[in-house]
């Protein structure tokens, strides 16, 4: 299926760069250069996903998002130069689905677009065939019977240790495990303390299931306390 993506940014170069990436990946794109134009296009066309800049003339991305959320639930990814936590929280609270800070890595943007679209179209209708053996969190599905893990519908190959760590975290979403606890529970050996083996394994695991391992969505580092699986 051909997805329609609306790119909205007042910088035309950024719009055309994104256009090149998205078109080469097989999406159909529409362009808008401020919030009002974006609203107009969304009214006229069938749009599946919006990439929205925050700082724009006439109507900024936050107000446009709020306006869109009154009637539509299309995924919206905010693109912005503002990198402060407060800005991110505001954007996500107003109804955006994801948040990418400029300057962004185009590969990352593509991955996020793909992830959002898959969740919006495919995963939305899959809830019914869910079995008790499948653990789910956001885009991650872990089937303990088949010992298989999929992220946004794509299979991921994990080592047994990584699999067991993920299983432990998926079973207890939101709970913080220290490295020592993870070591004891996964390796079944008493922890000797001060070992960064666990940390290394978790980093590998993150690289496999996260879009941007430096800003993880699922496996969060709680500095000084341990790791946890964020409920998404």
């Amino acid at each position: 299926m051909l997805y329609n993506i609306l790119i909205c940014d007042d910088d035309r170069d950024i719009v055309s760069a994104l256009d090149i990436y998205l078109t080469s990946d097989g999406y159909k794109t529409y362009h808008a250069y401020d919030g009002l134009e974006a609203l107009k296009i969304v009214e006229e066309r069938e749009i599946h996903l919006i990439l929205m800049d925050v700082m724009m003339p006439h109507m900024d991305g936050i107000r446009a998002t709020a306006k869109l959320r009154e009637s539509k639930n299309i995924p919206i990814i905010l693109l912005t130069a503002k990198s402060e936590d407060a800005d991110k929280i505001l954007g996500l609270n107003i109804g955006a689905d994801d948040y990418v800070t400029k300057p962004f890595n185009p590969i990352e943007v593509l991955a996020r677009v793909k992830s959002q679209l898959r969740r919006y179209t495919t995963l939305g209708g899959q809830r019914k065939e869910e079995t008790s053996r499948v653990l789910r969190n956001g885009g991650i599905a872990l089937d303990d019977a088949a010992k298989s893990v999929t992220v946004d519908g794509e299979g991921v190959s994990l080592t047994p240790i990584e699999y067991n760590i993920l299983l432990l975290l998926m079973k207890n979403p939101g709970r913080v495990f220290s490295t020592g606890q993870i070591y004891e529970l996964v390796w079944n050996d008493p922890s000797l303390g001060s070992e960064n083996t666990v940390a290394v394994h978790i980093r590998h695991l993150r690289e496999k299931i996260e879009i941007d391992p430096a800003n993880p969505r699922y496996i969060k580092v709680v500095w000084g306390l341990g790791y946890k699986m964020e409920k998404v």
Binding site: S194, V200, R203
Partner: protein, 699 residues
């Protein structure tokens, strides 16, 4: 509440009304008070107090009759004028001409005089009263006695003066030690003393006067006149009394808005003072008293003329003018008092107060010019002087000493206020002001200077904060503006890579572009963070963290990077967890920067030593590595922004890492230190150890 009567017409009307009602209230009230007894007695003249007015006029005449009768007894006859007086009095007091009845008895009960007609006795008389009076004769004779020297006996004889003008010579030897019949006593040689009680020349008699009114009145006398007036007043007294009550009530009701509106003008805020309200109060009162005295004197003569000459219209007009003038003066006084009360400082605007204030100021200025030594000495002398003055009065001793104690306590309290204010300024509240009102001069000056100092510091601090904040804001905004074009650069460089360029030179150039644009990205991010960390614009959420846990996690993140750089980390840590109070994300950034530094600048193939230990209540982490390039600048300079080892300029990194690490460490209450020993680079981060909780981290 809205204030009425502020327009000129309203004020004039109110004043006029007040004038009329108060004048009416005064006269009706006065009349009612004068006839108070009449109002309540209900026409019972005999038992009213009014009857005593004519009674006393006749009693005065009766007293004269009494004196003349007794004089006649003593002297055996009267002089011609006295005879005429007695005759006139007898005529005036005859029962035909008066209703007054009286009898005079001496102490033996003998009747001396009576004006009772035949067949009447004192028992039938109304309003009867009894009075006693003692008459004395010859008490002035002893003043004329004198002493004479007798050459024969060589003693003084006493010449005693008798009522008939002759002298009797008494010798001291006649009755030694006893009073003679003239009240004199001697010891046989010298005269001792005089005793009036023993003087037979003095005669006394106590007379009783019984008087009253023959009721009903028959003769046309003072009683009759008074009674007629009394009965006449009786008719319209209730009306006058009612008028008095009404006008008095009305006066009060009018005087309240009169006082409230005093000094207010429609369309003007605040009080309006005229010349009356500006004159010193005591001068004003003096003028008032003088004018009132003059008016009362005039009023007295007017009423006198009315009483004398009956109904003359000019006199009544005069009385009206007098009343209005006096009333007007009183109202003017009330008005100015009301305005002064509202304006405040009722007693400050007086000549007396100004005089006192000037004297006080003079003394204070004199005292201010005393030298440091003279002041306590003179104060002490003043204290001693007052103590000496108060000691003889006993009662004033505790009062004076109490005053001194109070003054000392006051001084101590003010001194404490100054000290507390100073402590506050030092303690970081430079804009906190010491209340200098009501302080002693020296302390006030001192506190004022401290206040100035405090506000100067406060301004400086605020200026600095403002400029820091401005700088941070500027950096944030500039970096936002930089990020947008940077996005395009990064994206198009990436697109360029994918266009299938074959030329190795072009590929190399693209690689440079790619690297440099990535570095520019990192630089802008670090710039924002460094400015925020150094101005403290970051929020810090402190929690209890496992320091070794965090270090493990950080090493896990860096494992591959170390491998890539050919570095091997050597970590020594105690086998138990060490806890600190810090914000995990900020602490991670500190360690991230330190490890990132090692990766960037350490000599490949060397070891990086990471030591964690608890030392002196602190958790101390030291990171040691050997620098790839010679470190030819001092450690302190390394922590400044944009400074890197001279030879490291070309490598990646922004030069902000150590600056950020130090700012973040200090923001969380830790300390950050750098040591350079040749090529050995050593960073030491230390945080206070948190030992309050010994429980294991949450499971």
């Amino acid at each position: 509440m809205k204030i009425r009567f502020t327009s000129p017409q309203g004020r004039a009307a109110l004043t006029l009304l007040c004038l009329v009602t108060t004048a009416l209230a005064f006269w009706t009230g006065l009349f009612t008070m004068a006839q108070w007894d009449n109002l309540w007695s209900g026409g019972d003249y005999v038992h009213s107090y009014s009857i005593y007015a004519p009674m006393n006029r006749y009693a005065y005449m009766a007293d004269q009759v009494r004196d003349l009768c007794q004089a006649q007894l003593w002297q055996g006859g009267l002089t011609y004028t006295d005879q005429q007086r007695l005759g006139n009095l007898t005529k005036a007091l005859s029962p035909e001409r008066t209703n007054y009845r009286f009898e005079i008895h001496d102490q033996a009960g003998k009747l001396l005089y009576s004006n009772l007609p035949e067949g009447e006795s004192m028992d039938q008389v109304a309003a009867a009263q009894l009075s006693e009076y003692t008459l004395v004769q010859g008490d002035d004779l002893a003043q004329n006695d004198y002493s004479v020297y007798d050459e024969a006996s060589e003693l003084y004889d006493k010449m005693v003066y008798l009522a008939d003008g002759t002298y009797v010579r008494c010798k001291p030897a006649e009755q030694p030690g006893e009073y003679n019949s003239y009240g004199w006593r001697s010891d046989g040689e010298d005269w001792w003393d005089y005793e009036p009680a023993m003087d037979t020349r003095i005669r006394t008699v106590t007379l009783t006067t019984q008087d009253g009114v023959s009721w009903p009145l028959t003769a046309d006398d003072y009683f009759m006149e008074d009674y007629r007036d009394y009965m006449e007043f009786q008719q319209y007294l209730p009306a006058v009394a009612a008028a008095a009550v009404v006008t008095l009530t009305l006066s009060v009701a009018l005087l309240i808005p009169f006082c409230r509106s005093a000094g207010r003008r429609r369309g003007q805020d605040g009080l309006v003072l005229n010349w009356q309200d500006r004159v010193p109060l005591d001068l004003y009162l003096c003028l008032f008293v003088v004018l009132i005295t003059l008016l009362l004197a005039a009023g007295d003569s007017i009423t006198y003329s009315i009483n004398q000459g009956g109904q003359r219209p000019t006199a009544y007009v005069g009385l009206g003018v007098f009343t209005v003038a006096t009333d007007g003066l009183c109202l003017a006084l009330l008005h100015t008092l009301a305005v002064r009360c509202k304006a405040g400082g009722l007693f400050r605007n007086t000549v007396l107060w100004r005089l006192c204030a000037r004297v006080c100021r003079f003394f204070r200025e004199v005292a201010a010019n005393w030298s440091v030594i003279r002041r306590p000495v003179l104060t002490f002398l003043l204290y001693l002087l007052m103590t000496v003055i108060t000691i003889p009065t006993v009662v004033l001793v505790p009062v004076w000493q109490g005053v001194v104690l109070w003054l000392l306590c006051r001084w101590a309290r003010q001194w404490r206020a100054v000290r507390e204010g100073t402590a506050r300024i030092v303690g970081g509240e430079p804009d906190d002001k010491i209340d200098t009102a009501k302080m002693y001069r020296d302390l006030r000056e001192h506190a004022g200077q401290l206040n100035d100092l405090g506000s100067a510091i406060g301004n400086a601090v605020e200026e600095r904060l403002k400029s820091e904040r401005f700088k941070a804001e500027l950096i944030t905004n500039v970096s936002h503006d930089l990020k947008t074009p940077l996005t395009s650069i990064i994206n198009y460089v990436d697109l360029l890579k994918k266009t299938g360029v074959e030329d190795p030179k072009a590929l190399e150039y693209i690689e440079v572009l790619d690297r440099k644009s990535q570095r520019l990205k990192k630089l802008t991010e670090d710039l924002v963070e460094a400015s925020k960390a150094s101005t403290g614009a970051l929020t810090v959420n402190k929690e209890r963290l496992g320091f070794i846990q965090l270090l493990d996690q950080a090493l896990g993140e860096y494992e591959e990077k170390f491998e890539k750089s050919g570095l091997s980390p050597v970590c020594t840590a105690p086998d138990h967890e060490l806890y600190v109070e810090a914000d995990g994300r900020h602490l991670w950034r500190v360690i991230d920067n330190l490890l990132g530094n090692c990766v960037k600048y350490a000599m490949p193939g060397t070891r990086v030593y990471l030591d964690v230990k608890a030392w002196d209540g602190n958790v101390v982490l030291s990171v040691k590595n050997v620098s790839r390039e010679p470190l030819n600048i001092p450690a302190d300079r390394l922590m400044e922004r944009f400074v890197r080892g001279e030879e490291s300029r070309t490598t990646e990194g922004s030069g902000l890492g150590l600056s950020i690490a130090r700012s973040l460490t200090e923001l969380q209450g830790g300390t950050f230190r750098l040591d350079i020993d040749g090529d050995l680079f050593k960073a030491v981060v230390s945080f206070p150890e948190c030992r309050a909780l010994t429980a294991a981290p949450p499971l």
